[in-house]
Subunit: 173 residues, 6 copies
Amino acid sequence: MLFLFFEAGKLKRLPRTGWLLKGIPNPESIADHSFRVSLITMSLADELKAKGLEIDVERALKIALLHDLAEARVTDIPPTAQYYIDKSKAEKKAAMEMLLSTPRPREYEEGLSLEGRLVKFADKLEMLIQAYEYEKTGFKDPNEFWKVIEKLKESEFYEYFGELVDGLSLHRD
Amino acid sequence: MLFLFFEAGKLKRLPRTGWLLKGIPNPESIADHSFRVSLITMSLADELKAKGLEIDVERALKIALLHDLAEARVTDIPPTAQYYIDKSKAEKKAAMEMLLSTPRPREYEEGLSLEGRLVKFADKLEMLIQAYEYEKTGFKDPNEFWKVIEKLKESEFYEYFGELVDGLSLHRD
Amino acid sequence: MLFLFFEAGKLKRLPRTGWLLKGIPNPESIADHSFRVSLITMSLADELKAKGLEIDVERALKIALLHDLAEARVTDIPPTAQYYIDKSKAEKKAAMEMLLSTPRPREYEEGLSLEGRLVKFADKLEMLIQAYEYEKTGFKDPNEFWKVIEKLKESEFYEYFGELVDGLSLHRD
Amino acid sequence: MLFLFFEAGKLKRLPRTGWLLKGIPNPESIADHSFRVSLITMSLADELKAKGLEIDVERALKIALLHDLAEARVTDIPPTAQYYIDKSKAEKKAAMEMLLSTPRPREYEEGLSLEGRLVKFADKLEMLIQAYEYEKTGFKDPNEFWKVIEKLKESEFYEYFGELVDGLSLHRD
Amino acid sequence: MLFLFFEAGKLKRLPRTGWLLKGIPNPESIADHSFRVSLITMSLADELKAKGLEIDVERALKIALLHDLAEARVTDIPPTAQYYIDKSKAEKKAAMEMLLSTPRPREYEEGLSLEGRLVKFADKLEMLIQAYEYEKTGFKDPNEFWKVIEKLKESEFYEYFGELVDGLSLHRD
Amino acid sequence: MLFLFFEAGKLKRLPRTGWLLKGIPNPESIADHSFRVSLITMSLADELKAKGLEIDVERALKIALLHDLAEARVTDIPPTAQYYIDKSKAEKKAAMEMLLSTPRPREYEEGLSLEGRLVKFADKLEMLIQAYEYEKTGFKDPNEFWKVIEKLKESEFYEYFGELVDGLSLHRD
């Protein structure tokens, strides 16, 4: 268990390289990002449950917390590298190995479940909010911003949280 | 909901002032800390459940994630200041207000529940692990280290996780 | 005396959290701020004396240098937190205690004296200059800027240093 | 006057290169250093006055605050460079020019006055305290530490503040 | 050509993740590392030539300068990740593509040439020197240090530069 | 030789003070800059050779790598200081002394040679590219930008690389 906590400690020290490559001087750590993804997941899952969907909030939270842990081993590889490396494969291998030493592995498997898909949505939404926050302090990369919005609009959860996503682009100007 | 996410964004930018005052140059953010507290809470809660205790893992995770959110408003006030400021009161006021705008407030109330107490234990354990990690890269403050260990030993959860706590002091030399 | 110097050392390590919350990546330390407040106080006090006002420059400088020292204990609590915490009370308590161990305490009491009021003016002017400087490198928060200007315009010292304050808004565009 | 304040702003952004070259990752700024030098000067000057010496505290404070301002133009040149550059000459030229635009230049001339010498002592004492603080968090450079202590022991002010200087080496182990 | 220069610009912003994972707060950038590798390569190649070996110094310098450029696309993946990702393959693909747009690609092919092997030796030597420098400021990881020394000792170039390598371990205590 | 490598290590830790003074929070190191100057020099020199000019690429690369090494001793003195200090003289003295301990000193003398002039061109071009990159993330200083472009246009190499320089100003808007 201690080993898992040390792995998590690495996420505190690793910056999100995507921001670094865009020139953000001291960007957030992967742990910073994971924290807000988990918080967003919590809010969205509770909301979906309140709206009548059958969703396992505990499971969603666990996926959100573990979601980026594999990064502790393969570090944060930015999108431009994905052409060269099959990241998801490497991550899955690392994630699997890591989860084998946690109490009940089957619970955390990400995949096609509703909870896993929600975490993916929360992951992108978090990035959009962060881009919005960096933009407010002077950073500019409008294309990136709209690209993420487009992806969020295509999601099955846009139906429930469209107002939230659109709110960000309105606030922006 | 967006407002809550912006508050969480502040935790990414706020350093843990306790480490700053001790001279750690670029210490972890409050969000960094909250992330690992949540992860530790998850592991410990699952373990306690496996050992037969009746514990609401979802509730524990929610408390862990929200635990430091009040800091976004009052910032991270280090222990030396607590003589002057009734921090817990201020935090509670802020937390309450914040939670009133989240779906189901009653769920998150921290206090005397088993889950709330577990998060407090995880919070201290996280600090111990971080102190251990800083120590490994050259930082020295042995007194601090042992003070936290003492507190963990007095906890009701030491019975279950004593091996983990003791493991850290063994690894250390 | 050594203890006082160690307290001052903490101000070098503590960032001004107000800027952090606004997204400035590596903002000035409290000591950075205190240094320029003291320098501004020196210039303004000399100017007022030259214009015939009866002002104790030494006393003004001492207040400026000690002004933020209480922060070393309660850290830099940003305005948003003041709703929850009676900051000035906590600071005064800390400041009083600290001053009791310095040679002649009565000299440093801040309050309603002309010198104390001048330091308050210099404190706001320094923040305005800093906002102006951050703005020049891309950071944007125009509302904040004008709010501080308004406060400076209401001050009794605007009569003497109006040109300086207005100069900053002219330079700006 | 505004120009002087902008020059002071540069001292906030310039690191003390001496520490950088020794490997301290995010060292103090020149303004950080100047702030504590001024505070130390204040305490020592008050103490000397209490002990019966005739000292102009206001003048000492002004010298302390302006002491490193010339650095804003020539930046912080570390000792190893002094073999190549006649630093004091360049600084004096810059300082003189800067002071010509401040109200009463004759007041600030540093030199052989008691006040000027006290600031030089405070300057070295500050560096010793900082070295001590960096040492406490793991940084090691004992030779440097003792070299500065030797210089302080040779000073005329060691007679008054010997206890303070010796206190630092005792605390150290 | 401009594109190649932008790629190089990314190396300035990307930290060497190996140091980050070991807890070095603001570690060197990949460009920092590449710069010293090139400088070391220059010195070693000149020395080898002086000792009568037939070596193409220009070619060695070009390999050294381009050696880590592929990292700009795949970022700096630390050794722990290499178990999961076939890094050299990905890098080669990226490097090849990049070199196709530079004037004379055949010149830069790294591989089994004497020059390529020398750059590999310089690359490890640079890391050893950096570890030594971090150690001097308090960072501790003796195992790592000796592991790199062992690799250098097995190299064909140890015959020529053994004194240099051994000098580092002597200086160390 | 080891001494030369330690000097180079200082360039990794020293920031380019020109950017610091302009308010860039964590600017590139001198080593970061030197790395890209060397890479640019390599590309330009190869191009000139391909166009039929008689140029010694190895020599150009050596000048580029050593070009800023003198900075390790006198640190990076920004343009505003040059009014006060005869920088080139000090640097030359330092550079000469340093080169006396490297194998064949006469090779590295910078001056009026074609290779030395090309490095000067690459040095300015690198700064322009960096200014462009900082601009893209929000930093603004248009005057600076155009001033460097003007200098590049006056160079003998503009004839060959005019397209590259002009490309940067076109990309910019």
